[in-house]
């Protein structure tokens, strides 16, 4: 977590996240990541790969960020480097030493004595764009209260700080008072203050770093170098803000559903999340999703949840098993809702080719795909059900594991009678009229459509027409029915290759 002269490009780093299978919700727009994995390395910060998306999230939302970690883990270095790279007017205060006058300047009465003004110095907060309050847990209680409005409202002494974009803080852990990790003077934050930080990120220590990262951190060369924005951090933050301001409603709804469910689940093991915390969690989920690609992911949501809890601020550790349990329930709720929405959308899709593509490409799971296929075959008018079965047959037969044996059986049961017609066409003739001169009217109309078709298309259409006529299914517009058949078969065709799995 030291700075080196020779910084590594993020692209040079192994992309561990890209190799991990990611379970994500479907139906969201895929956006490029704001910055490539390992982007913090370009600032000379190593070992933070796991939390770098959340640090970028805090830059996008502008919400207060608190880093919690042992001494010498690079918290201060990281935050100061970020302000340098972003070109911000930065203030770095040590909360254990701070006097309030350092923040606001020396007060003096205005002419006439109607109000007070402050003599500004390079250290006063009035012009700051970013503020780092270091050693927050060593702050005197009365100063904590004064910092409260700075963190929460971007105000001090009741006055707005219009330039202030980022409010950051760092502190040592304050939980273990009976072991080596005890930090004398590091006291638990007031819960109300801790709850104002949107993200509370526990930073990694030496034991959590890879060998390579340890070497990079231990290398003393490059200490003191200025951090520059070599990877487009400013542009990425602006793009992130734009995405955040225009975040789709569906993403907000997913985040809200998840955050509410987590808060409810955590009540049982007595882990309270305030209503404000639920809202902050929801914001964090939306922003972190947009930072990392736009599609909610199970692992991404968990990481955001784990770093959105205020409890580390007052020295309480939420058991990982408790958090994972709440996460699993909330994610299940979210995906169940998604499955239900998908099923409903598919079953209300009137364009058969579109429905076919949706069934083959976007089913959330084999079980739901099977349900949608079976319901479609029952729900659709019989000629259309026959078309859908013919289109699905080759794909599902090729990949029964993806759609289930039951949907294969349902498709085959519907398609087989279409492909094997041995019946007769019946029609009513007035006495005295000859069948040869007065043939089956629908058969005649269908024959006219078939006449102009190329061979394969004609073969498929013939089977469909014969099947419908044999079973006395109405064919009001043979030409339109044939066109639907052709479009639906074409929709299924790309999925017949084994490389195209849903």
């Amino acid at each position: 977590m030291k700075k080196r002269k020779q910084k590594q490009s993020p692209q040079d780093q192994p992309d561990a996240k890209a190799q991990t299978p990611v379970i994500r919700l479907d139906g969201f727009p895929d956006l490029p990541r704001l910055l490539p994995p390992g982007w913090l390395r370009s600032l000379g910060v190593y070992g933070y790969d796991e939390v770098e998306d959340l640090i970028l999230t805090a830059l996008v939302t502008g919400d207060p960020l608190l880093l919690v970690g042992k001494a010498g883990t690079g918290k201060t270095f990281l935050l100061n480097s970020l302000s340098e790279a972003l070109g911000l007017e930065h203030r770095h205060y040590n909360a254990s030493l701070i006097a309030f006058d350092d923040l606001v300047g020396f007060p003096y009465p205005e002419e006439g004595g109607a109000s007070i003004r402050y003599i500004q110095t390079p250290a006063t907060v009035w012009q700051a764009e970013s503020v780092l309050i270091d050693e927050l847990s060593r702050c005197k209680p009365e100063h904590q209260n004064r910092l409260f409005s700075l963190v929460h409202e971007r105000r001090i002494q009741g006055l707005d700080l219009p330039n202030l974009r980022y409010r950051w803080a760092a502190m040592n852990p304050c939980e273990a008072e009976d072991g080596d990790e005890f930090y004398d003077g590091s006291v638990a934050l007031d819960q109300a203050l801790a709850d104002r930080f949107a993200l509370l990120i526990e930073v990694p220590d030496w034991d959590a770093m890879t060998e390579d990262d340890r070497s990079l951190v231990a290398d003393a060369r490059g200490i003191g170098a200025i951090s520059v924005d070599g990877i487009g951090l400013v542009r990425a933050v602006e793009e992130g803000r734009r995405r955040f301001e225009n975040a789709p409603d569906r993403l907000h709804e997913a985040a809200l559903t998840y955050a509410s469910a987590v808060a409810t689940q955590l009540l049982k093991p007595s882990v309270r999340l305030s209503p404000r915390r639920v809202r902050l969690l929801s914001r964090n989920l939306v922003a972190s999703t947009l930072v990392s690609g736009g599609v909610p992911g199970r692992d991404g949501f968990y990481n955001t949840l784990a770093r959105s809890l205020p409890q580390p601020g007052w020295g309480v550790r939420v058991e990982d098993s408790v958090l994972r349990g709440a996460h699993a329930t909330a994610w299940d709720l979210l995906t169940r809702g998604q499955e239900s929405r998908w099923l409903s959308a598919v079953l209300s899709e009137s364009r058969l080719a579109k429905r076919c593509t949706e069934l083959l490409a976007n089913a959330p799971s084999p079980d739901v795909a099977a349900m949608a296929i079976r319901q479609s075959l029952v729900q659709l008018p019989k000629p259309e059900a026959a078309i859908l079965a013919l289109a699905l047959l080759p794909v599902i037969k090729q990949r029964p594991d993806d759609f289930g044996q039951e949907s294969l059986a349902a498709v085959v049961e519907t398609a087989a009678p279409v492909l094997e017609v041995q019946s007769e066409a019946k029609w009513r003739l007035r006495d005295g009229l000859e069948p040869q001169a007065n043939p089956h009217p629908t058969l005649t109309a269908c024959a006219a459509v078939l006449e102009g078709l190329p061979p394969r298309r004609r073969t498929r259409a013939t089977q469909l027409f014969y099947h419908c006529i044999a079973h006395e299914l109405p064919i009001d517009h043979p030409e339109a029915l044939e066109r639907t058949l052709d479009e639906t078969i074409r929709a299924a065709k790309p999925f017949t290759s084994r490389t195209n799995k849903p």
Binding site: P394, V412, V421, E424, R430, H440, T459, A470
Partner: protein, 183 residues
């Protein structure tokens, strides 16, 4: 109309019942000649039929990649109608305890892929010789046939209904089936 015919017609008309008023409107029975058949009970139309046959499964279709495979059936039928006992006897004589065991041992002779199933009632369509081994193989395949689907992933279930079928498996080549005419 000749005078003789006109005379006969007048004679016959007097014997026919008078048409009901509702049926005598010009719109329904416009030609005057037809009035004489109204309400007489005779049919005015008939159902005609024409064969409608296109069997791509049993006949195959090279262009759509539908390839009929082997036929399977147990022959002759048991005299007492107890197909399951017949098959269990065949299984025991072949030295197997379970159907799955037999499937595993003879898997080289059994179909590997999912296929469509059509009933073929004509015993002559079967290629096997009706030997005990052929009948047991047929029983194994029929046990995995459910309706129009044969799937090696399904369990072997022996019911009298399944075992009494004569079926042909039809393979479907996915890419041919959806192939465009211009490809």
């Amino acid at each position: 109309m000749t005078p003789l015919l006109a005379h006969i017609r007048r004679l016959v008309s007097s014997w026919l019942p008078v048409p009901a008023g509702a049926c005598c409107t010009a719109g329904i029975r416009a030609p005057r000649e037809e009035l004489h058949w109204a309400n007489s009970g005779g049919p005015r139309s008939r159902i005609v039929t024409t064969p409608l046959v296109s069997r791509l499964l049993s006949g195959g279709s090279a262009s759509l990649g539908l390839n009929p495979g082997k036929a399977y059936g147990i022959d002759p039928a048991p005299s007492d109608g107890d197909w399951r006992s017949l098959v269990r006897t065949l299984l025991a004589k072949a030295g197997f305890n379970t159907a799955e065991q037999a499937w595993h041992a003879w898997r080289d002779e059994l179909p590997e892929d999912t296929a469509m199933v059509i009933d073929c009632d004509d015993p002559k369509s079967r290629e096997d010789n009706g030997s005990p081994r052929a009948n047991l193989i047929a029983a194994l395949v029929l046990g995995r046939c459910c309706g129009a689907l044969f799937s090696p992933e399904r369990p072997i279930i022996w019911s009298d209904r399944r075992l009494s079928r004569h079926v042909r498996l039809v393979n479907c080549d996915a890419e041919s089936f959806t192939q465009d005419d211009h490809e």
